[in-house]
């Protein structure tokens, strides 16, 4: 088929494919009207009400003012909405908010509040231009570093294959993740 190159999206995710397992069944809630739910986000419990069809991404963005995660492809391809759910890197556009109860959700807002070194590494390596894909990349990088401390460039290329950037910031991102990895290791050994 035309237009099917080799890159991008889930075709090259490797790691994310393996990590993005189906979530366990959620608490019993049904629609079609909005239902109250409780989410654990960045270590805090948050009450809101959602229509059962709402994605976690839309709930975060529209109801909770958590707008770091962006809606770009809205189909689990580009990674701009990346969050970490119970330790796993996930696309929040592919999760329903009602299915996200009872899980520990970590967003960039939470990661930046903890001053993770990946953020400074993105800045130092100019790993952002327009910046719209950046939050997704930062979260994916953090999740990747959690499991692959001190990675090589080759590992970074594989591990971040589930995110896309249009401005073309990949060179800076590669370096940022490798640099942050070194700092994390240094931190542990210090």
């Amino acid at each position: 088929m035309r237009g099917v190159g080799l890159s991008g999206g889930v075709l090259s995710t490797g790691l994310l494919e393996q990590e993005a397992q189906a979530a366990p069944p959620a608490a019993p809630v049904s629609g079609p009207a909005a239902v109250p739910i409780t989410l654990r986000i960045n270590g805090k419990s948050v009450n809101t009400s959602v229509e059962p069809r709402e994605t976690l991404l839309d709930t975060m963005r529209n109801s909770l003012d958590l707008t770091a995660a962006k809606r770009v492809c809205d189909r689990g391809t580009c990674g701009a909405c990346t969050i970490i759910v119970s330790g796993k890197v996930m696309y929040s556009c592919t999760m329903l908010a009602i299915d996200s109860q009872g899980k520990e959700i970590e967003t960039l807002e939470g990661i930046s509040a903890k001053n993770h070194p990946i953020i400074a590494a993105f800045v130092a390596n100019d790993a952002q231009q327009c910046g719209y894909c950046t939050p997704g990349f930062v979260v994916a990088s953090k999740g990747f570093l959690d499991k692959h401390p001190n990675p090589t460039y080759e590992e970074v290329k594989k591990g971040l294959g589930g995110n896309l950037c249009r401005c073309g910031t990949y060179m800076g991102i590669r370096q940022a993740v490798v640099d942050a990895g070194k700092q994390l290791k240094g931190g542990r050994n210090a």
Binding site: V4, G5, D126, G131, C165, G168, T169, I173
Partner: protein, 712 residues
């Protein structure tokens, strides 16, 4: 008149130093609020209904059921009965509701009856477009027929590059609130100072009634200048909903279908040269389409436009597809690909190293010395002489390796821009411009210029952009922003500093024109002990501030900025001849852009442009379906962009030299987006020994070329 010229290279403290972008921390921590992130109180969401047909006449639009749907606050028909729809995705109606889901449900209740009309959505076969083709007149210079007879080698081939989209990650759209005839407008735009006027024209209100604000935007690449129908209609929805703000951003399918494309380009090119490689004749029959409006005429022959004998024919094709918008260096990447492919094929006919062929013909360009230097520099970076082999000769099992060359030219002089600099008694400094930072580092550049001029650290400069109440600054297009804002900022800061000198001079007992601002001090030139700190100087203002304007007058830039940028890129690829997969090894980019204010962000611009070229060369294509008249790949799964593993290594060389520096600031956003496709396509031809005539160079096309077939 004050001396506005840039300080000499060796005296600069900030300009020219690698500086991290100021908004990096906000972007990397998710704090940066884009227009699509805004959730003002009372926010409504709008969703559009678009035409599923590529060509149709609207017979009826029934909104009765949608109007009654609970949660809907307003609904508008955009294309009423009788409207002839010319492309799929045309805006038919729009609904505002208390949530996006409700708006979507209501849209589904709108009933539209169409009279479906015949459509043409593909332009690749000129024989099938009928009366949609519109020929431009023939252009002839010299005597091409005689020259081809004199040529020792002639190459003739049909090359093509398809329509691609901008695929901005933040879709087009806005949050907008209209109360009476006043509008608050938060668009994702490349044109903070002008987009309000565009909107006002359609709303029939004074431009000054529209307040535009935008701190960040998620990518434009030439596609985000106008207010667009969805902006105008969303304003009306807001007004009809009692002034509540309305958020409307295109969904991905609509974004990829109607929010602008880069036109295609097809060309039959015949090119002839003497035995020594001197090009003497060119003939091209080109055609292109950018959608219903036609459009897209690649400037051929590109860069080598002093070929003495040529004949040009071009045909614009109108198809039933969303229209073209400026796309990073309009028409230049296409022209570079077409021209450099033809030259490369001609070199192969002559058994000549294409590097020698390009060098041999730099005299046919307007900047021979620059291109010669850049060709040699890029060749050195990619180790051309060591790594290049004749076509198809660099083999390792099923892998073939190859090198290729691409070339670019661009203007990039600064746009009209006004800046206002205010010095406060507490020593703080504000610089205000109705400009925008679309990801190119504009904020940072402005602060660097102001800090350099005032002898202060960057941290003391507060840059205020992204608001049309600030002095008017041009839209970010044509690589004009950096030249414009740096010049206006420089002048405003110099003017403000003069006023401060006028106040401080008498106190220091020194003539104002003998003062300088260095390292946070105002001091006497040649007598650094005679001075006072910046803070002390500003305290002398008492309760007053100094506010001065600066303007980049495009007709008199006083050497602060200029246009005319050249570039060379060379690609190194490996091709698996069993699978047809092309792998990027390396792309080297050599670009001049005059005085480089921030090498760090300038380099990022080049890197990003190179990566866009990898996308366009290897995977990007908008695929139209003649059966349904629709875009087949209007999502990000099948509209392919390169991922982090697909780009190989990219090495940038900015020609930062005293000679280039003297030219002043030159824009850089577009020129590096030009030569990459040509370089990669030529590298693939060099690797596999045959030309793959159509980009993107997807595996099926590579395999077809290897098997002697033209099309995949």
């Amino acid at each position: 008149m004050p001396d506005y010229s840039w300080p000499p290279m060796e005296k600069r403290r900030i300009v020219g130093k690698r500086t991290s972008r100021l908004d990096g921390p906000d972007k990397a921590s998710g704090k940066a609020k884009y227009p699509s992130d805004l959730n003002p109180p009372g926010l409504l969401h709008a969703v559009m209904l678009t035409s599923p047909h590529a060509h149709a006449r609207v017979k009826t639009v029934d909104i009765a059921a949608a109007k009654k749907f609970p949660g809907v606050t307003a609904i508008r028909v955009i294309s009423g009965p009788g409207t002839e729809v010319q492309w799929a995705g045309t805006e038919i109606a729009i609904v505002a509701a208390t949530s996006e889901a409700i708006a979507r449900d209501a849209v589904a209740l709108i009933k539209v009856d169409y009279e479906v009309l015949p459509h043409v959505v593909r332009e690749d076969d000129l024989g099938k477009v009928g009366n949609r083709a519109k020929a431009a007149g023939e252009q002839v210079t010299g005597d091409p027929d005689a020259a081809f007879k004199e040529a020792d080698a002639i190459s003739e081939n049909l090359y093509s590059i398809p329509v691609i989209t901008h695929c901005c990650l933040e879709p087009h759209g806005q949050v907008i609130a209209m109360k009476g005839d006043k509008v608050d407008y938060w668009p994702s735009t490349q044109a903070v100072s002008t987009v309000g006027g565009d909107l006002a024209k359609y709303l029939e209100i004074p431009a000054s009634n529209v307040h535009v604000q935008m701190d960040y935007m998620g990518g434009g690449f030439g596609g985000k200048f106008p207010a667009d129908r969805w902006g105008v209609e969303s304003a009306q929805l807001s007004k009809e909903s009692g002034g509540r703000p309305v958020k409307m951003f295109l969904d991905r399918e609509t974004e990829l279908t109607i929010a602008g494309v880069r036109p295609s380009a097809f060309a039959n090119i015949k090119i002839g040269a003497k035995k020594d490689g001197t090009i003497i004749a060119w003939q091209s029959q080109s055609w292109a389409s950018g959608g219903f409006g036609g459009g897209g005429m690649p400037p051929l022959p590109y860069v080598f436009n002093k070929i003495p004998n040529y004949r040009l024919n071009h045909t614009a094709v109108s198809i039933n597809a969303g229209s073209a918008r400026a796309w990073r260096a309009p028409n230049n990447p296409q022209a570079s690909f077409l021209t450099c492919s033809a030259i490369d094929d001609l070199a192969a006919k002559l058994n000549m190293d294409p590097l020698d062929m390009f060098l041999k013909n730099v005299g046919l360009t307007i900047r021979p010395d620059t291109y010669r230097l850049q060709l040699n520099k890029a060749a050195e970076m990619i180790e051309w002489k060591k790594n290049w082999r004749p076509r198809g000769q660099n083999k390792d099992g099923y892998m073939r390796r190859g090198l290729g060359i691409g070339i670019s030219t661009w203007g990039g002089a600064g746009h009209a821009s006004k800046a206002r600099t205010t010095i406060h008694p507490d020593g703080s400094v504000e610089v205000e411009l109705g400009s925008q930072d679309i990801g190119s580092g504009t904020r940072t550049v402005i602060s660097m210029v102001a800090a350099e001029t005032l002898g202060l650290p960057i941290s003391m400069i507060k840059v205020k952009i992204g608001d049309n109440l600030y002095p008017v600054s041009g839209p970010s297009g044509g690589s004009t922003t950096v030249g414009g804002v740096s010049s206006s900022t420089r002048k405003a800061a110099v003017n403000a500093l003069q006023k401060l000198y006028d106040i401080v001079g008498p106190i220091l007992n020194a003539p104002p024109d003998r003062l300088e601002a260095v390292d946070g001090k105002i001091r006497m030139i040649g007598n650094p002990d005679k001075g006072m700190s910046w803070q002390q100087a500003c305290q002398k203002l008492g309760v007053n501030t100094i506010t001065e304007m600066g303007e980049n007058d495009t007709k008199r830039t006083e050497g602060l900025n200029t246009g005319g940028a050249s570039g060379i890129q060379m690609a190194d690829v490996s091709v698996d001849i069993e699978t047809g997969v092309v792998k990027m090894n390396k792309l080297v980019a050599v670009h001049d852009c005059g005085l480089v204010i921030n090498p760090k962000t300038a380099e990022s611009q080049v890197l990003g442009a190179c990566i866009m070229s990898v996308c366009s060369a290897l995977m990007e294509e908008r695929v139209m379906d003649q059966q349904t008249g629709r875009v087949l790949n209007a999502d990000m799964e099948f509209y392919k962009l390169a991922g982090i593993a697909d780009i190989g290594d990219i090495v940038v060389h900015m020609d930062i030299t005293p000679d280039n520096d003297k030219r002043g600031v030159i824009g850089l956003g577009e020129p590096p987006a030009v030569p990459g496709v040509a370089a990669i396509a030529n590298a693939v031809a060099n690797a596999i020994g045959v030309r793959v005539p159509s980009v993107p160079l997807i595996p099926s096309r590579v395999l077809a070329a290897l098997n002697g077939r033209r099309n995949a």
